[in-house]
């Protein structure tokens, strides 16, 4: 069975687009047997499954369709031929769409297109960031930064070991610098001691910097 460290390296390779299906399967098997990794990577497991051959995004499953499926499709086409004339007739009687309706449709399609484009762009330009803090005496640890409007309520770190190690994995847009803090027990705002740079937050405290 794969070790947790090996699972981390598979995740690295996957983020680079270099993981092969056997590695992904081994990773998923590891997560089934390791509750700690399963909980830690719960958000990423569906994405890994998506990348496996045979998933809906994998077009290779379409290259050799089942023979029965092909026959069924051809049969359906034959049946349609008999109704072909009527279909043509109906399309001749159809009225043209008015210009304003076409403009409405164009605006709607444009809006949806822009939305999808932004979504795709954002997703291709994000990085998975793993935050870790050792706080043995903490009852709760949260993450707040300019990426979540400093609202820590939905960014709870999970306690992953008895020695008080807390972790959270988030996805952030690449190419930016972020300021962030950990919030201990909902009150104490602390900088990340392992951050490469700390900055004055302008209020007499310290924030940490993250550059992606």
């Amino acid at each position: 069975m794969m070790t947790c460290k090996e699972a981390f390296s598979v995740l690295d390779a996957w983020e680079q687009g270099e993981a092969d299906p056997s590695q992904l399967n081994a990773f998923l098997s590891h997560c089934e047997e390791c509750p700690e990794c399963a909980s830690r990577f719960a958000g990423l497991i569906p994405l890994l499954k998506r990348d496996l051959p045979g998933s809906i995004s994998d077009l290779s499953i379409l290259t050799s369709p089942d023979r029965n499926f092909e026959d069924a499709v051809m049969e359906g086409i034959d049946l349609d031929k008999s109704a072909g004339r009527k279909t043509v007739q109906l399309s001749r009687n159809r009225k043209r769409m008015p210009a304003w309706a076409m403009a409405a449709a164009a605006i709607l399609i444009l809006s949806i297109g822009v939305g999808i484009g932004m979504y795709v762009q954002q997703n291709s330009a994000t990085a998975t960031v793993h935050f870790v803090l050792e706080a043995p005496s903490a009852q709760s640890v949260q993450l707040a930064g300019d990426f979540n409007s400093w609202d820590a309520s939905n960014y709870e770190l999970k306690k992953v070991s008895e020695d008080g190690t807390w972790e959270i994995t988030v996805r952030l847009t690449k190419g930016q610098v972020y300021a962030y803090n950990f919030v201990i027990d909902g009150q104490q705002w602390v900088a990340d001691p392992s951050a490469m740079a700390q900055i004055d937050d302008g209020f007499g405290g310290t924030s940490s910097l993250l550059r992606l």
């Binding site: 680079q16 990085a127 201990i184 990340d192 490469m196 740079a197």
Partner: protein
Amino acid sequence: MRKQKPGLMPCTDRAGRSSRNLLKLVFLFSLCAFIIVPAFSFAQDLQRWFSSTDARRYAPIRPAVEDLAKSVSAVGLEEKLLVMRLEEGARKQIQPEALLKALQTDVGSMLSFATALQTRGLFPRNSQKATTMTQQAVLLFRTGMVAEELDAALDASIKKLGKTDPAVGRALSALSVVVIAKKEYQLETIDTIAVAEALISSGWRNSDFVYVLDELAASRKSGVSKEETVKHVLEYVKTAKPASGETSGSGAGGGKSSNPQSGKSNGSGKENGKGKQ
């Protein structure tokens, strides 16, 4: 021939008319949503924040904040920049006067950055893009960036990429690395400018700039002087071909990648040591 009475139309015409009316409504709604809503939402950021529950205790500083917002809007930046800082202050339960003081300092940085872009014809036409860039610049000013570094980086970027938005992005990427290096290794401004210019004019991708921090760390660890370290880094930027064109995404905040080739992005990456509290 039977005449059609006015007002009594065949069912099919009536249905057609109602569906056309519906489509017209959809068209008008789409038009409104497409044009009016974004403009409205940007203009209302500050007003909306001050109406929130979190903001009640900050009512006394509202007029002063609105004045700051006017000066920010006057240079083409969104007041969202102030709202983000207000949110941070409110969550940290900062006193109103202290929050106002921090905002005034930030607005000074915002205006310096905007002026630096405008004088070079680099200010982005897209106000959202300008706002994001300014947010980055404000953080860099708070990290210790000085005006000379910004000016030098922008000029080097124009030489490399012309007066374009990517030129500003490249300058900010290089500056984000050198100001962190300056803070961490107490480099002189003259050295940070040299490293920033070298990075910008190199063939490196912006996302690879962060490898310089690994090189600096290794060099300092080996015990060489600050001057030698800078020389070594400059040579490294000129000669090395970082990674394989992959994006590094290595975090400056605890996200230092242990393997520059990996492209892995970490916060306080567990394998790189975790923060102790």
